[in-house]
């Protein structure tokens, strides 16, 4: 390396660092703008899901800011909030890592001057990021993180839309009882496969609690490391114990790998039911094709719920322009709901004072045509008590609504037990 290029490289490095350190002063003065920060895993193992969540937030903001007479959700026709305020989004990438999510929450609140935060998909990121918001007395809207621990912290500024893994576990156990009654399924033993993270382990813990309380016996419990390249030994363990029903908390690509490995091992349980995970991801279901069929799981939304949620279609049309045609799924739609509920609270409070908006969030019930519950209401600690999901089964690539009975698809019939691979 000659002297000239050495000097150049040295100068460039020093100048770059100095510029970076001195850059990024406080945000510019804001006029009639409500800045909201988003924190999602835009890169890393669950990047697809994170990017869809970000697109859902953008969709909802577009609806609230503009005038959309054809969209039947609250505030779609007004064109802004509080007589002319527009929401402006500032996006951040958590990479799915708690420390980065926390640092980004601080940056968004302190440097970008955002008024509230929305995020963060991964429960492990939502935890520390929402603590930052709590200390700063800023609102944190959490769409899809399902760890029940999050709303047990009794935070004042934290609000979560999705059902928790505790709610889902209770619902799954009800499904087992329903199958035993209606189909004479004789399900007695349960196996659990879950990713070894806050989400997976939390779900598995709630599953064990609910199943044991209802008299089922958990015979096998298989954790795995997320992002696994091989699940042979995990599936073999399940096959050896052969539980009647399998509960799964398996995210993204790991879910596809699990199903493929089950096929290789030529084993299926008599029924398999999954938490909000790879099961409900429309891209994964498409990739798996026929192999995804007959598995069951909980969904807050799929395009097959259109008759139950007629308001979604117009919103989804905008959403699809941002996701190259991929429809909403149960997680991403919750993020859109988070924005619309927050917007309603601001409008109702008639002020941008976080304390007043928090009071409204705690005390009101909000219309939510994008949610199965139709309403959103928060309990102390921030859990949406109107949240629930429908248990579906994939049949010929379509999510058929099965449980609860009043929301079931009248033409759909549960296929039980699951057909062995060689008879499909």
């Amino acid at each position: 390396m000659n002297r000239k290029s050495l000097r150049l490289l040295g100068c460039v490095a020093v100048a770059a660092v100095l510029c970076l350190l001195l850059a990024a002063g406080p945000a510019a003065a804001q006029q009639k703008v409500i800045k909201i920060g988003t924190i999602f895993p835009l890169t890393g193992p669950v990047a697809n899901a994170g990017q869809r969540c970000q697109a859902a937030v953008q969709t909802a903001v577009e609806i609230v800011n503009g005038q959309h007479p054809g969209v039947k959700v609250p505030l779609a026709k007004k064109g802004g909030l509080l007589g002319g305020y527009k929401i402006q989004l500032v996006h951040a990438d958590s990479q799915g890592k708690p420390d980065i999510g926390k640092a980004e929450a601080e940056r968004l609140l302190n440097q970008e001057g955002v008024w509230a935060l929305i995020g963060s998909y991964n429960s492990s990121v939502s935890g520390p990021a929402s603590l930052v918001a709590e200390r700063a007395k800023k609102i944190f809207m959490c769409g899809a993180s399902s760890s029940s621990a999050l709303t047990k912290r009794n935070l004042n500024y934290f609000f979560r839309l999705a059902p928790t893994d505790a709610t889902e576990s209770a619902e799954f156990v009800e499904v087992l009882k329903w199958l035993n009654q209606k189909q004479n399924a004789n399900i007695r033993t349960i196996g659990i496969i879950y990713e070894n993270t806050l989400f997976g382990k939390g779900a598995a813990g709630e599953a064990k609690k609910a199943a044991t309380a209802a008299g089922f016996s958990v015979v096998v419990d298989v954790p795995y490391t997320p992002g696994a390249t091989n699940l042979n030994s995990e599936v073999q363990t399940l096959k050896t114990k052969n539980p009647d029903a399998l509960f799964g908390a398996v995210l993204g690509a790991d879910y596809a790998l699990m199903v493929k490995t089950m096929k290789q091992a030529n084993w299926v349980p008599r029924m398999s039911i999954n938490y909000c995970s790879g099961y409900q991801d429309p891209i994964i279901a498409k990739q798996l094709g026929k192999d995804a069929d007959l598995f069951m799981g909980s969904n807050a939304y799929t395009p097959q719920f259109a008759t139950l949620l007629p308001a979604v279609a117009a919103v989804e049309k905008i959403f699809k322009t941002k996701t190259k045609g991929v429809p909403f799924d149960g997680d991403s739609i919750q993020e859109a709901v988070a924005v619309i509920v927050l917007a309603q609270a601001i409008e109702k409070a008639g002020s941008l004072d976080p304390e007043k908006v928090v009071k409204v969030l705690h005390e009101s019930t909000f219309d939510s045509p994008l949610s199965l519950g139709g309403k959103v209401q928060f309990a102390k600690g921030g859990q949406n008590i109107k949240a629930f999901s429908i248990v579906t089964q994939l049949q010929n690539g379509e999510y058929k609504r099965l449980y609860p009975a009043e929301l079931a698809d009248s033409k759909a019939k549960v296929v039980f037990p699951m057909k062995p691979w060689n008879k499909r």
């Binding site: 990024a24 835009l42 951040a92 520390p128 200390r135 621990a149 070894n196």
Partner: protein
């Protein structure tokens, strides 16, 4: 006759003392502490420089490349978190236990590993990270995969938790002074020369009477204890720990990357590496992370590749090169570009 003590204080070390003094008064400069993201970047520079310097003892001065330091980092972090979250006390007893445990674990696992030579030692340390990661994930006593979340607690020295960045800034600075101070002391101590002798040629060192096994084990223990102290800071700063946050290959690589980028086996290297790498990492993410698609990570990666291709001796190598040329131009002959 030159007085070596006087030389130490007023010579090379004067620059360091001045540097620490400047860093210490920075938060008092009007406008500096107002920008909490800038404070965050400075805090991370001090933390990662300390982590890299702790690794540098073994990897740089003693020449034993370890990819397993995230294990000791994790043990330190868990020590403080267990005391605070599980037992509801101040983190202090946990810090001491964590540091002692890290040192002990380091000695126990490296004793057989040091029998491996060259690249095999590095490969073995890779495996150790994986073993500890899995073990911590299924170990329910320490919270397993769910990890430990800090409750909302009072700020201050007792809990080692602050609501503002200034407290953490000075905590990081103290950490930095401790770690760099130990390495500076080692540099001038007989043990420092033993380490360098082992690095340059184990057989030669042994033939001169250096007990290379003991030197390597001691270097590993010192390095692990200081790394655990850095882990304490990490958990107190992030208020949460789970195995994938600390005991990961990703974290292990950061120790190595920062030191190599800055210049391994030099006192300044880890600081130079962290001062360039951390702002790049944080600001590329702040500016471009929200765009999605990992543009920030691509730019960050490209800059690292360019640095490594253009100057394999690290940032310190660049400055030494410049100094050497200036000295040559004056006809005095220059310092050698010294990296292992």
């Amino acid at each position: 006759m030159v007085n070596p003590t006087k030389n130490r204080i007023f010579g090379k070390d004067a620059v360091w003392l001045l540097f620490i003094a400047v860093v210490a008064v920075l938060p008092l400069v009007p406008g500096f502490a107002d920008n909490s993201f800038r404070m965050h970047v400075f805090i991370l520079i001090l933390l990662y420089a300390s982590m890299a310097q702790a690794w540098n003892i073994l990897g740089g001065y003693c020449g034993q490349v370890s990819f397993g330091h995230s294990v000791f980092f994790g043990i330190g972090a868990y020590g403080a978190a267990m005391a605070l979250v599980t037992y509801g006390t101040a983190p202090w007893p946990g810090i001491l236990i964590g540091m002692a445990a890290a040192g002990l674990v380091a000695v126990v696992i490296s004793y057989p590993c040091f029998k491996l030579s060259g690249h095999y030692f590095a490969i073995a340390t890779f495996a150790i990270v994986e073993i500890f990661f899995r073990m911590f994930q299924v170990w329910d006593w320490i919270g397993g995969a769910i990890g430990l979340d800090y409750p909302v607690i009072e700020e201050g020295l007792w809990n080692l938790v602050w609501y503002s960045k200034t407290g953490y800034y000075y905590f990081a600075l103290i950490l930095f002074v401790i770690v760099f101070g130990v390495v500076r002391w080692l540099e001038g101590h007989r043990f420092g020369y033993y380490m360098k002798a082992v690095r340059e040629g184990q057989e030669t060192a042994e033939s001169l009477g250096v007990n290379s096994a003991m030197v390597k084990l001691t270097a590993m223990a010192i390095s692990a204890v200081l790394t655990a102290l850095c882990g304490v800071f990490f958990v107190q700063y992030n208020l949460r720990v789970d195995p994938s946050m600390v005991i990961s290959l990703d974290m292990a690589m950061k120790f190595v990357l920062i030191t190599i980028l800055g210049g391994a086996g030099t006192l300044l290297g880890p600081l130079a590496g962290a001062a360039v790498l951390i702002p790049l990492q944080e600001y590329t993410r702040a500016f471009w992370g929200g765009l999605g698609g990992g543009i920030d990570l691509i730019i960050f990666g490209l800059i690292i590749i360019l640095m490594v291709i253009k100057q394999p001796a690290g940032i310190v190598g660049i400055f030494q090169g410049i100094r050497q040329r200036i000295a040559k131009a004056r006809g005095k002959g220059g310092a050698e570009i010294g990296t292992p």
